[in-house]
Amino acid sequence: MKKIALVAMVFLAIAGAWAQTNIEFWHAMTGKNAETVQALADRFNATQKDFKVVPVFKGSYSDTMNAGIAAFRAGQAPHIIQVYEVGTATMMAAKGAVKPVYQLMAENNEKFDPKVYIPTITGYYSTSDGKMLSLPFNSSTSVMYYNKDAFKKAGLDPEKPPVTWPEFFEMAKKLKASGMEGGFTTNWISWIQLENFSAWHNLPFGTKNNGFDGLDTQLVFNNDTVIKHLQTISDLSKAGVFIYGGRENKANPLFSSGRVGLHFESIGGYANFKNTCKFEFGVATLPYYPDVKGAPQNSIIGGASLWVFNNKPKADYKGVADFMAFISLPENQAFWHQSTGYLPITNAAYDLTKSQGFYKTNPGPEVAIKQLLRAAPTGNSMGIRFGNFNIIREIEDQTWEDILAGKISVKDGINKMVLDGNKTLREFERLNK
């Protein structure tokens, strides 16, 4: 009798498992971030019995996106896929392939108020009239890091980081004069010194509200302010005050090993610096040129968002919508924010984190949030929406190296970035109109 009961129980358990629908979630997170993704899924799975969210690591951002594309073409797409910000326009243009989040939420009668989200974050992934296409997942923005110990040594006030670019360059020179190898470096010349720089100064990066209002957008960042900015950095590079550290985030060791005293990096790198820097460092907002009207505005985000694939069984979408609503809850957002260092996507999660006293020991992330919330975003500071965005950034990175190597002048280089970038924009337009 006992045996029969046992067998029956096993069968029931299997039947129960069968009734549960798996929601596949492909992501590109590693290390602690991947653990936190799994923890979010576990939390969600524990709240109900109908769905089971299964996170699957698929490699780098581009690997994950390629895996998603290949799977979609083979009819095997996952439900949810994490796509980096440069892939946004490509995903948007893939009309039959994705289900916009606002539509998903409406179809499944999910309680969904776009206003609870931080506009600079959700705006990046919404249409220009505010319809959310993908759910922001891991978002960051660029900030300035400075070495407080080096500031003291150079006779500078460690509690007064530079606020404007002229101040910044002066301090950088003083840091070098105090015996450091150089004054400053930067990661992500494209994302930080061009895209964020333009948004922060409320200057258009591209026409049509940086591409939000149409595929016939043109790059226009070859203005005097940008030219002056890169010219100054290039000149300081010759003087050894600026040290080039490589593309993407390759310049980090220059700062963490104390060879330069000022650095620009995503707030996502905050935890990393806390682990690797053997000195006290501070986080401050991006500098600005005081003679530019409207500066400082707000900075823009980077990172990735969650897209939902089309053509899955209708019942599955209920689970996807529930999961997205679940991870947007303040307590889950606060958990994500505090475990990974990425920014919370709702104001409520920010307030919750503040009330928990997190920023007392981690002042860096709050600088980033305040920088994002500094002003209501304008057409120049909502985000960037370009097709072939990867190619555009690649052109910028390559040309910047040619500028620093003296192969091309700053002005010609920036004009080349715009010219070549516009060519790839036209190709995207031709294919997708």
Binding site: S257, E401, L404, A405
Partner: protein, 294 residues
Amino acid sequence: MAKQYEFPSKGLPYLLVLPQMVIVFMFFFWPSAQAIWQSFFLQDPFGGRVIFVGFENYTKLFGDPDYWASFRVSVLFALAITVSSMSISLFLAIQTNKKIRFDSFYKTMMIWPYAVATMVAGVLWLFMFNPNVGIIAWLLKYKMGVDWNHLLKADQAFLLLTIASSWKQIAYNFVFFLAGLQGVPLPLVEAAAMDGAGPVKRFWRIIFPMLSPTTFYLLVMNLVYGFFETFPIVHQVTAGGPGKATQILVYKVWRDGVINLDLGGSSAQSVILMIMVIGLTVVQFRFIERKVTY
């Protein structure tokens, strides 16, 4: 000469080669056909929209000075690797083939780098020479006064890639040269010595010609390695930079296709590469092989 074996039925040999043919078809013919097909289209990555453009993907490439630059650097790179790794490994093989102490120890050590995966080799050399963290970069800069910065200096980037790629290939070449040297009949060399030929003359007149099959084989393998298998090293060490200075053809195919999602352009590039390989192989076996004594 060789004994011939007659199969009892006509079908059996076909059946026996079938598995191999299936593999070749699936992993070579099918993808190649797809690449040729895709090279005539512009398409969005999801396959939603496809525009037939004829030869536009090709004309765009050939009209692009950057593509020619990539072509040039690929050829130079493959030649540099082939010449440096073959000459160094031949020298080393001759040295260890002499009767010296610890020769088997040297031989083992020499072969070792071949066991290192190309990707790992790239990381190794990157860590040593990276201007931000590398120990050798530091030595060069602060102890020897060399302004080492391959992140901005194209010549240094090219040199570093050549050293890193050759290092791995030297081990491979070494094994073959050593085996080739051991196959040279000693009486021949001794007879030449008796006739008064010095070591240099003996090498060029007897040993080197006897090695020619090995040399020819290695020439082909090294060129192929230089063109196609150095991708992981370029990917790790320079990512094609500074600017586009070390963007070799295989790296460009990958970037344009996988990262930039330009499937048409990337397919056209891979078709060009395919034609190059076919051409290279035909030329090598048709003309160079004739001068080689097997």
